[in-house]
């Protein structure tokens, strides 16, 4: 048999990154397994429960808001040419390159007291950094839908709205859904901007940092483990649901 050494080499190099991601996740679980007592204690800590609830709620709200505004925007970007379109496209990707502390400062300077230390502030910070995922996924999803399908639907008597609802939206759904999941995941992993805009109400991300600073690694680790379990669990389940519908 002919040996494809180039491919083996590439696989070996790629394995490094896979291990680099997988090992810390495994290690934190293993380490925690030897300290079940602390985990149980953390699970009974009302601060922790409250913070996790805040994180889940704000991230979900962020994903919904991103869908509400991002899907129409994605559709326009996919279907219409207009002056300044490339500028709009570039602007959509800007949040990805701005440091998140800077995002926090910008939001605070712009909206000041109306978002300071409130749920609105958390969502505002999350939305800024995570909306691009939904917008881009929606745009790509609609781009993949043959425009002729809409044209035919319209000659058959459907309005543009009806053609959108019955053809384009269902066909782009898998792409939009995975974009929304990415938005949710990015939102729940946001810390930098939230620290500046809304230290309170406390989210799990911020609480982990606070416990780490005040009580050290042993106290913050269980919250981290719970967060990772929840985020990963929900992420995997949603991805599976979308993938199954897609098949």
């Amino acid at each position: 048999m002919r040996r494809d050494y180039t491919l083996y080499l590439f696989a070996a190099l790629g394995t490094f990154l896979i291990a680099y991601i997988a090992v810390p996740i495994a290690v934190i679980f293993l380490k925690q397994a030897s300290d079940v007592e602390m985990l149980v204690k953390t699970l009974h800590d009302p601060y922790v429960i409250e913070a996790i609830r805040n994180s889940l709620l704000t991230a979900t709200a962020t994903a919904l808001i991103a869908l509400l505004f991002g899907v129409p925007l994605g559709y326009v970007l996919a279907r219409k040419d207009f002056p300044g379109k490339s500028a709009v496209q570039a602007l959509v990707d800007v949040p990805i390159v701005i440091p998140h502390s800077v995002v926090g400062i910008m939001l605070l300077v712009t909206f000041s007291n109306s978002i300071l230390d409130s749920y609105k502030g958390i969502v505002a910070a999350m939305l800024f950094v995570s909306a691009p995922f939904t917008i881009n996924a929606a745009r790509d999803g609609f781009l993949a839908v043959d425009e002729k399908l809409e044209a035919v639907a319209r000659t058959l008597g459907a309005s543009r709205w009806r053609a959108f609802l019955s053809i384009s939206l269902p066909m782009a759904f898998p792409s939009i859904a995975s974009g929304a999941i990415m938005t949710w995941a990015r939102a729940i992993s946001e810390v930098g901007a939230i620290l500046i805009v809304a230290y309170y109400p406390k989210t799990a991300q911020v609480l982990i940092l606070e416990y780490f600073n005040n009580y050290g690694l042993r106290a913050s680790r269980p919250i981290a483990v719970i967060m990772v379990s929840l985020s990963l669990g929900i992420f995997v389940i949603l991805r599976w649901l979308v993938g199954r519908k897609n098949a």
Binding site: K148, R154, L156, G157
Partner: protein, 330 residues
């Protein structure tokens, strides 16, 4: 007339429609014939209301529909790739226009079954479009279009994506469907076969202009200009002075199939030229002794041989169709 297109012009990407004017009669199968890139699809989409024309008007049954959106026009458009809705079953595809019109469920079912019976797709109603063959997709697309009883069916290269055998069969079937279902069709294609076997009238479209419109037989036998003649396959154009059935051109005397007089041009299809070593004893009337030059292109199977043998040949060609009437030409 059902459709009247008046002076439509449109610049769209690399296509330029220029002052396109024609009309389609009720019950007619009108073919727009042209090479790819002539702007045929753009013209269809302008008529369907998908693309806005730069100028010109479109009338449907006498009513100006130029400014109406596609859903208010009552035309059914079938693009070249058929554009079946992949997220719906065949039944739902065909029923789409009826559902949009809020037709009662029972009637939708009846209509879909009736159409699919005529088109021979009753057994496919539960399937998804991506599981269908090209021929089946075409039938579904036609059923979906006809379900809304459109004034006019717009067909874009409906047979281009089919293999040769399916194409032949479906062209014949389309004649039958037209008899049974009685629709009016505007059909764009680059295929002479489709034009000849389906068309009542044909419009030849070259570089965004509709250069000749007429009954199929007339257009094919009497091209109105040299460019139409070339497009229709008359690649050799000979100019000369005609007198009765005799044409004198460059010292040759050619016998014409009809009488003509004055300066005219005749077109000869390459496939009508027969090459032979000896003068042929056949019904061919025009036989010439000639030398085949080595750089003559496209002689079919004879090509390689003639390229080597730059010798003397006698060629015989018959002129099948006269091109211009007397007096036309330079």
């Amino acid at each position: 007339m059902v459709l009247m297109v008046e002076g439509i012009s449109k610049d769209y990407r690399e296509f330029h429609l220029r002052d396109v004017t024609f009309s389609v009669e009720k019950g007619e199968h009108f073919i727009i014939l042209g090479p790819s890139g002539a702007g045929k699809t753009v013209l269809l989409e302008v008529i369907a209301g998908i693309i806005e024309p730069d100028s010109g008007r479109i009338f449907l049954n006498g009513e100006d529909i130029t400014d109406l959106p596609p859903e208010k026009r009552g035309l059914a458009y079938i693009p070249q790739n058929y554009a079946l809705f992949p997220n719906m079953s065949v039944f739902d595809n065909i029923a789409f226009g009826l559902k949009v019109r809020k037709v009662p469920k029972a009637e939708i079912g009846r209509k879909v079954r009736e159409l699919s019976e005529v088109l021979g797709i009753s057994h496919l109603l539960k399937r998804k479009p991506k599981t269908l063959s090209g021929g089946e997709m075409q039938r579904v697309a036609i059923a979906r279009a006809l379900a809304v009883e459109p004034e006019l069916l717009l067909l874009d290269e409906p047979f281009a994506n089919l293999d040769v055998q399916t194409r032949g069969r479906l062209i014949n079937e389309m004649k039958r469907w037209r008899k049974e279902l009685g629709f009016t069709a505007l059909h764009v294609t680059h295929s002479f076969e489709e034009a000849v076997s389906l068309g009542d009238r044909v419009g030849v479209m070259l570089n965004g202009r509709l250069v000749q419109v007429g009954p199929v037989r007339e257009v094919f036998s009497r091209p109105a200009s040299e460019e139409v003649a070339k497009f229709l396959g008359f690649e050799n154009i000979v100019e000369g002075l005609a007198e009765g059935r005799i044409l004198r051109a460059n010292g040759l005397v050619i016998e014409l199939p009809i009488e003509a007089s004055g300066r005219i041009r005749v077109g000869i299809r390459p496939e009508d030229i027969v090459l032979s070593d000896e003068p042929l004893k056949s019904s061919m009337r025009n036989t010439f002794q000639a030398e085949v030059q080595a750089d003559v292109e496209e002689l079919g199977e004879l090509g390689p041989r003639t390229r080597k043998a730059k010798g003397r040949w006698s060629g015989a060609f018959s002129i099948r169709y006269p091109l211009f009437g007397a007096g036309a030409g330079a």
